[in-house]
């Protein structure tokens, strides 16, 4: 008769005993994330936290294929105007609210209609959402949108508990409630974000740690010192200059993946008075600048060979990279000839703004010295990031060294930069043929058709050069040997499924 009680006692005791050995995975981040509401947030580093906190409709593989997450299957209508998704049975939000088609509809509505939402342009193609049955949802689009699934694999596809956001409104970020493998524990700004394992997670078997603590440590040397001292189990964005030292450390391991993003020089070709100069007006000078640069030298000198030299919006490892235009060899003579043709045989002075961060400055100094050998005298204007961004957006610049964090779908790396009036087209580049090709690439779901459109656009852009691409950063993670099962992804996220921590 006492047996059930005893069993309960033993169970409770057993549970308490495991709790004593609770495993906490400590991850060092380069920055402190912004608000933890997927509809309002904007930083790359915030997405790293979401990867453990918030499940999305779909996810990606390391090869960028779209795979099921909260949606188990999907089907496009023949005209590409309807997407029907089957949803996962048995998934619940951290507050116990069940996940179903109603919840998806409420989430899409919030992303599209919350005035503070930063997801509006990502979901702009959706014109209607229909709850077919409890576990089926259908999206109707205004025009075919090949990028939609990739958007669902990121913040726009993250599902929040409707109960929670109806109660919290725009304050949801103070206590986010999603349906991912870990639930929100606590956050102390600039110090830590703690997430606890969610027992009712649909894929709970793949999660092997009890909690995960994200610690923003901006200084790369200090971040690495913390890992070496055992205060961290892993860190993201190791400095390229520390790769050799981590490789030589028997207690540490290194993982890397070429990112989806790029770094380059954005040139003002039409954005107000700042475009009124030879660099902005004559494509030959932009070509000369590009030819004067040895992209391998940048990679070797500044990044110790850890990054990927590049000349296109997609890295050479991407299936969308156009092999017809390999990363060009440096050709000082050709650069000089182009300058002479443009009427600057005696050289030309160009001002470029760059963020006042030591690595970017060093990189541009390398570019500066290479360009000077071709007769292009670069004056570097170091600006603090917010200032650089405002000047660039206002057209108050000639050229600007800036990058892009990259998107899963190729459209995200090119469309809004190169189409007329595109959201981030700070060059104000405009070419009807490029507009046509990039819009076409966006509406087809056939990869071959899209590839052909991108290639045709590249034929034009490689001549016009509103952006001179330089390199693609590589995500570098350093881990202690006690961490096993980590898979690097080109989106730079840390997915904890299958990751184990030994004592």
């Amino acid at each position: 008769m006492v047996t059930p009680k005893l069993t309960a006692f033993a169970l409770a005791f057993g549970l308490a005993a495991t709790a004593l050995h609770a495993q906490d995975l400590r991850i060092g981040l380069q920055e402190d994330p912004d608000v933890l509401d997927p509809d309002q947030s904007r930083t790359f580093v915030g997405r790293i936290v979401y990867a453990s906190l918030c499940d999305k409709l779909v996810d990606i593989t390391p090869d960028l294929e779209i795979i099921p997450q909260l949606a188990t299957g999907w089907e496009w209508s023949d005209d590409g105007l309807q997407l029907t998704m089957t949803l996962r049975e048995g998934a619940v939000f951290h507050d116990g609210t069940p996940f179903n088609a109603e919840a998806v509809a409420a989430n899409i509505d919030r992303s599209q209609n919350l005035p503070e939402s930063r997801r509006k342009s990502e979901l702009s193609s959706i014109t209607g959402v229909e709850v077919v049955d409890d576990m089926t949802i259908r999206f109707t689009l205004g025009a075919p949108d090949a990028t939609l699934l990739a958007q669902f694999a990121d913040r726009a596809g993250m599902m929040l508990s409707p109960t929670a956001f109806e109660a919290a409104g725009t304050d949801l970020g103070l206590n986010p409630v999603c349906s991912g493998p870990f639930s929100f524990g606590e956050r102390i700004q600039q110090d830590r974000i703690v997430l606890n394992r969610f027992a009712d997670y649909w894929n709970a078997d793949a999660i092997n740690v009890d909690s995960v603590t994200f610690l923003p440590i901006p200084d790369t040397t200090v971040r690495l010192a913390n890992l070496r001292a055992g205060d961290l189990d892993m860190l993201e964005r190791l400095a390229a200059t520390d790769v050799a030292s981590v490789n030589n450390d028997e207690d540490l391991q290194l993982e890397q993946a070429v990112s989806l993003g790029y770094q380059g020089i954005t040139i003002n070709v039409n954005n107000g008075a700042g475009a009124d100069n030879p660099l902005g007006q004559d494509a030959r000078i932009r070509q000369a600048l590009s030819l004067a640069i040895d992209r391998n030298v940048i990679n070797q000198v500044v990044f110790e060979g850890a990054f990927a030299p590049g000349n296109q919006p997609f890295p050479p490892t991407s299936p969308w990279y156009n092999d017809a235009y390999p990363v060009p060899e440096r050709d000082v003579e050709a650069a000089r000839a182009l300058l002479a043709e443009a009427g600057f045989a005696d050289g030309i002075d160009i001002t470029i703004q760059v963020t006042n961060n030591p690595v970017q400055l060093q990189m541009m100094q390398v570019v500066q010295s290479m360009a000077s050998e071709a007769g292009i005298n670069l004056e570097l204007q170091a600006k603090e990031f917010a200032t650089l961004l405002a000047d660039q957006s206002a057209g108050d610049y000639t050229a600007s060294q800036i990058g892009w964090s990259g998107r899963v779908d190729p459209d995200g790396n090119i469309h809004q930069f190169m189409t007329t009036d595109g959201g981030i087209n700070d060059s104000d580049y405009s070419n009807p043929e490029v507009d046509r090709l990039l819009n076409e690439a966006r509406t087809s779901t056939d990869m071959a058709v899209r590839q052909a459109s991108y290639n045709a656009a590249r034929d034009i852009l490689i001549q016009d050069l509103p952006i001179v691409y330089l390199y693609h950063p590589t995500w570098i993670w350093a881990l202690s040997n006690s961490v096993e099962g980590f898979t690097p992804y080109p989106d730079g996220m840390i997915r904890l499924e299958g990751v184990t921590l030994s004592e």
Binding site: D37, R42, R118, K120, L174, I188, P216, V222, A386
Partner: protein, 314 residues
């Protein structure tokens, strides 16, 4: 004494108003658009316009300022643009951190700086004086960030004695909290100890030459009594001034030290806020540290009167 304190507080009010006006206008004069930073890589014009309206950034600066004063008087310092957290709550979160670092750093500074200053004044011109001066000069010259990183590499990575960085609330685990704060407090304290040592030395030097010290010695008092009871006590006024000013500065946050040791105090908060053009946070913190600084000044004035009866009101 009470009337004196009351007068000082009244005089402080216009100073605080002036500080808040300066900070408000100056940060709005900074180039860069907070809304562009806030919007990040998404730039839907409608969203940008909505955010501008929401945070009143379209209003003229005087109107924005008055709106801020209005809600500040009701105890609402606004919310952080970056994380949506109320500024008052943020200050409440950071104050204990900064206070702990400031107190611990000050203890290091006092324990090292004052005795070193007294000793070097007493042994003026000897090798002890020279050594103390060289050490003090190095303390002033070695940059905090360099010393900080070197200490992390030595104490945490090589020896494994103390945590490399971070913060542990005192209320949760006092011992671990002090252990974590030891290195940053030491790094911060050594630089301040140098300043204190120099001030103590010069104050002691002038006091040691006074007639009453000669008299005290002539009376046959023990050298220790002469030094501590007669000389140091009279040299304390400038030392108290420097100490309170240093403490006021510490309360404003030790930007570099907090950055290196990843301590979530005022310094780190205000730097992140400036770079993100998080106006409400900058404004709130500066107001808070301004008040703290003025309070420390009043405290210094009170301390003079306690130490030196001649300065008391008739």
């Amino acid at each position: 004494m009470l009337a004196f304190i009351g007068r000082r507080i009244l005089i402080a009010i216009p100073t605080i108003i002036l500080i808040s006006i300066f900070v408000f206008t100056l940060q709005h004069l900074l180039p860069g658009d907070p809304i562009l930073v806030l919007a990040g890589e998404e730039r839907d014009p409608e969203v940008l316009e909505f955010l501008r309206e929401k945070y009143r950034l379209n209003d003229p600066i005087p109107i924005q300022y008055l709106a801020w004063v209005g809600s500040a008087l009701q105890g609402d310092l606004g919310i952080s643009l970056r994380t949506n957290q109320p500024v008052l709550e943020l200050i409440g979160e950071k104050l204990p951190v900064t206070l702990q670092l400031a107190v611990m750093a000050l203890v290091f500074a006092l324990v090292i700086g004052v005795p070193a200053g007294v000793l070097s004044a007493y042994k003026k011109g000897t090798w002890i004086d020279w050594v103390a001066n060289v050490v003090a000069l190095s303390g002033l010259s070695v940059p905090n960030f360099w010393l900080g990183i070197m200490m992390i590499l030595l104490v945490s990575v090589k020896l494994g004695w103390l945590p490399a960085s971070g913060y542990q609330p005192f209320s949760e685990d006092p011992l671990q909290s002090i252990r974590t704060m030891l290195m940053p407090a030491f790094v911060l304290g050594t630089a301040l100890a140098a300043t204190l040592m120099r001030h103590t030395r010069s104050a002691m030097l002038s006091v040691l030459q006074s007639d009453y010290i000669r008299t005290a010695r002539a009376k046959g008092l023990a050298e220790r009594v002469v030094l501590v009871k007669h000389a140091l006590r009279n040299a304390l006024v400038p030392i108290v001034t420097v100490t309170t000013l240093i403490f006021g500065e510490l309360l404003a946050g030790a930007v570099l030290t907090e950055q290196i040791f990843t301590i979530p105090g005022f310094g780190k908060l205000v730097v992140d806020a400036v770079f993100n053009r998080d106006y409400a946070v900058v404004q709130g913190i500066v107001l808070c540290t301004g008040v703290a600084f003025i309070f420390m000044n009043i405290l210094a004035d009170v301390a003079y009167r306690v130490l030196n009866p001649r300065m008391r009101d008739k």
